[in-house]
């Protein structure tokens, strides 16, 4: 029998993110598709060599916004289950900054919800990142200022 959809898993964490925990959370017997997204720290941004990123969150509001995003997704796709976990603190190249998992009976809602979730997270969840560069400089990333040479992942 199809079990009821689990509540969203929403977390800001200070430790490495375990994708399998998100997948396990959203899965149940009625799920036929799980779409996930991982944001990872890459070594080059805007043509500069990145050595690491410090993430900072306004934690209670960030979790509230992530919860709101999950609720809106659930209203748009009935039966959707959602997990969104964002890491804060100092991350190195290859570290996972955010993980999203969306599960549904069918693949289109799972994939579309995953995509909608990451786009929404990037515009409304109060989290910031300071990129550190190989030359010793650093800057708070401001996606509202276009750089011409690239954009965040």
């Amino acid at each position: 029998m199809t079990v009821s959809t689990p509540d969203a898993l929403i977390e800001i964490v200070g430790a490495p993110i375990d994708l399998t925990r998100l997948v396990a959370h959203v899965q149940h017997a009625g799920v036929g598709a799980v779409a996930t997204f991982l944001g990872t720290v890459r070594d080059v941004n805007d043509g500069r060599n990145v050595t690491g990123i410090d993430y900072e969150a306004y934690q209670p509001m960030a979790e509230a916004e992530m919860r709101a995003i999950a609720a809106e997704l659930g209203a748009q796709w009935e039966g959707l289950s959602v997990a969104i976990v964002h890491r804060v603190g100092t991350l190195g190249i290859g570290d996972v900054s955010v993980a999203i998992a969306c599960a549904h009976a069918r693949r289109a809602p799972a994939a579309d919800a995953m995509r909608t979730a990451i786009e929404a997270l990037k515009v409304r969840v109060p989290i910031w990142k300071r990129e550190r560069y190989a030359d010793g400089e650093w800057t708070w990333v401001d996606p509202t200022r276009s750089s011409g040479s690239g954009e965040p992942a």
Partner: protein, 80 residues
Amino acid sequence: MSVPVLVFASYADAFGARTVTVPVPVPCTVADVITAMRELPGGHRLPGKLLVAVNYVYARPESPVRDGDEVALIPPVAGG
């Protein structure tokens, strides 16, 4: 009277603190808080357009700020 305002990221750098005590009588509006913050040391480094949250919800300039509200200045977000 004053309102404690949480600041983050580049705004925290601007003020050299994570909480700014803004001298403004309450109740007031979000716009009143912003106006007062621009007069504080470091306030000139704030951009022209500012986003404010009151009690963890994005607020408008005319939104009220009451005693005990949690007010936060939200820099351009860059999560993900």
